[in-house]
Structures are given as structure tokens and as C-alpha cells.
């Protein structure tokens, strides 16, 4: 915004003889804006994610978060702002950690299944009544993933 105002000021109050240099000011402004914006993005929004069988580490901007999968009891797929999906991990105390697959460049539905497997490795053995789909969990996952639930 400030850079835009500076550019507007330059254009409006620049002497006529220097008008030929205006495009160069705009180009410099665009380059500087891009560089500043990229720097701000790296410091606030850029997300990196590492995980293994026991824990995960997520860096968002300058903040670093490391948690173990066993701390969480729920994995939710939440739709926000109408189109974006986030994966929300909930622990027993009600604390949540949001992971944004769009910033990681992964499919949110498949990523959710992967995280679910890491959080709860006992989902294939159902404790409930009825003959479970224990041996068909892969087909169920394909079925559910196709319809994005």
C-alpha cells in the first residue's frame, strides 16, 4: 500500500521531463514489492512439514511445532471458507492443531487417511458389534475418498 502510494505520488508530481522514467519506477516498485511480499510470506505463512511414525514437526513462518501422534485422539477434516480443507488434530484436553494440506501441496483427503493411520493404528480392529470391514478397510478408504467424506 505504501509502495503504491509512493508510486502514485511519483507519477502525479514528477516533472514532465522525467515522465519517460516512470515505467522504470513502476518496474522497480513491482520488484521491490515482490521481494518484500516474499520475505513476509516466508516469515509468516510458509509451511513445512516433516513426520515419521512417532511424531511430526511443522514449521509455519517462524514458529516451530513438534508433537507426537499418540497425543491426539481425533482427526477431523474441516472445510473452511467454503473451499479449503484443513486437517484438525484434537487431543484429549481439547487442544487442536490445524494442518493445511493446500500449503503443503498434498491431497487433503489422502493426507487425512495417512494421518489417521499414524494417529490410530488400531482402526482396522473394530471394537463395535457387527462383522467389521477389517479386511476391506482399503476398499472402504477408496470408496470414501472417491466421495470425499
Amino acid at each position: 500500500m505504501i509502495l503504491m502510494l509512493v508510486q502514485i505520488g511519483f507519477v502525479m508530481f514528477l516533472p514532465v521531463s522525467l515522465l519517460r522514467a516512470v515505467p522504470y519506477f513502476l518496474i522497480v516498485g513491482a520488484l521491490v514489492s515482490g521481494a518484500v511480499a516474499y520475505y513476509v510470506y516466508l516469515r509468516t505463512k510458509h509451511t513445512e512439514f516433516w513426520y515419521d511414525q512417532d511424531k511430526f514437526t511443522m514449521r509455519t513462518g517462524r514458529s516451530l511445532l513438534t508433537r507426537r501422534w499418540e497425543e491426539f485422539s481425533k482427526v477431523l477434516l474441516v472445510k473452511v471458507r467454503g473451499t479449503e480443507f484443513i486437517i484438525r488434530l484434537c487431543d484429549s484436553k481439547g487442544n487442536t492443531v490445524d494442518i493445511r494440506p493446500s500449503r503443503l501441496g498434498v491431497n487433503p483427503f489422502r493426507f487425512r487417511v495417512k494421518i489417521l493411520e499414524l494417529v490410530d493404528r488400531e482402526t482396522s480392529n473394530r471394537k463395535s458389534e457387527g462383522t467389521g470391514y477389517g479386511t476391506e478397510s482399503g476398499r472402504w478408504n477408496d470408496f470414501a475418498e472417491k466421495f470425499r467424506v
Binding site: 481425533k74 482427526v75 477431523l76 477434516l77 474441516v78 472445510k79 473452511v80 471458507r81 467454503g82 473451499t83 480443507f85 483427503f109 487425512r112 487417511v113 489417521l116 490410530d120 482402526t123 473394530r126 471394537k127 463395535s128 458389534e129 457387527g130 462383522t131 467389521g132 470391514y133 476398499r139 472402504w140 477408496d142 470408496f143 470414501a144 472417491k146 466421495f147 470425499r148 467424506v149
Partner: protein, 151 residues
């Protein structure tokens, strides 16, 4: 949640292996009837015309279900919905073997308007829905059965 099917509600939260009192529902999807899509007209219509009803859909996938299990699922779903002030509840049960007459009797005998029940036989492709409005609408709104159900 993502696309397809007729618009029923804005389902915005999905949980797999949702455990409720010893019963594990394969999927639990929650949402409400407010539109959150981008678009001024959609949002205006949602704000002025649409009530905000909480809705939830439970999906249970088993090879076979008994009448006792189905009654238990229904009871748990109803109690949970009552506790959470959910207005509409759907319970979808998919099985691989033809459901028994007792199960079909439960399905067709369900008349409460707050919960819809649908039992889908993946083996034969047939489905039975409850006789209330939610159940009847489920048949036309849920289009996934004939197209992509893996057999």
C-alpha cells in the same frame, strides 16, 4: 463435502471412525444449512432465507448388521443429536449381505421426522429407506450408489 450430489447442507466437518458408546461409525459428517460459498447472492439468500439447522450424517459400513445393532445405532444417533441440538440426522448403513426382515422392518417402520435411515445392500445394489421425509429424500439426494460403489 467436496462436490457432487444435490445440495443438502454445508457439510464442513468429517470424522472417520467416530466412536460413540462402544459403536464405531465409519464416518460422521457434520454441518449446517447455512451457505458459505463465495458469492453475494448466495450469502444474501443464506442470511435471509435459510434457517441454520445443524445436521449430521453417520455412515456405518459392515458386512452384515443385526436388528439389535441397528436399533443401537439409531438410539445412539438420536441421543447424540438431541444432546447437540441437531435438527436433521441421517444414518446410512451399508452391508454386503441382504439385510434380514427384522432390519427392513426397523427401516420401514421409522417414522420420526428428525432422523432418516437408509440401508444399502452393496451385494445386490438395493436400498431401503425409512418412510419419513428424510428417508425418502435420501434416496434421491444420495447418488453414489449406482455409480461408483466398489463391488
Amino acid at each position: 463435502m467436496a462436490k457432487g450430489g444435490r445440495w443438502i447442507a454445508d457439510f464442513n466437518e468429517s470424522e472417520r471412525n467416530y466412536s460413540l458408546d462402544g459403536v464405531t461409525f465409519d464416518v460422521c459428517i457434520r454441518g449446517d444449512t447455512k451457505i458459505r460459498e463465495p458469492g453475494l447472492f448466495s450469502r444474501a439468500m443464506s442470511a435471509f432465507l435459510l434457517p441454520r439447522y445443524l445436521v449430521v450424517c453417520y455412515v456405518v459400513a459392515r458386512a452384515t448388521v443385526s436388528a439389535h445393532f441397528l436399533r443401537k445405532c439409531l438410539g445412539l444417533a438420536k441421543n447424540r443429536s438431541k444432546a447437540d441440538d441437531v435438527t436433521w440426522t441421517w444414518l446410512i448403513v451399508t452391508v454386503q449381505q441382504t439385510p434380514s426382515k427384522d432390519v427392513l422392518q426397523i427401516v420401514r417402520g421409522l417414522t420420526e421426522k428428525e432422523i432418516g435411515l437408509l440401508v444399502y445392500d452393496r451385494g445386490s445394489g438395493s436400498l431401503a429407506a425409512s418412510g419419513n421425509l428424510l428417508g425418502e429424500r435420501m434416496k434421491s439426494c444420495v447418488r453414489l450408489w449406482s455409480k461408483a460403489s466398489p463391488r
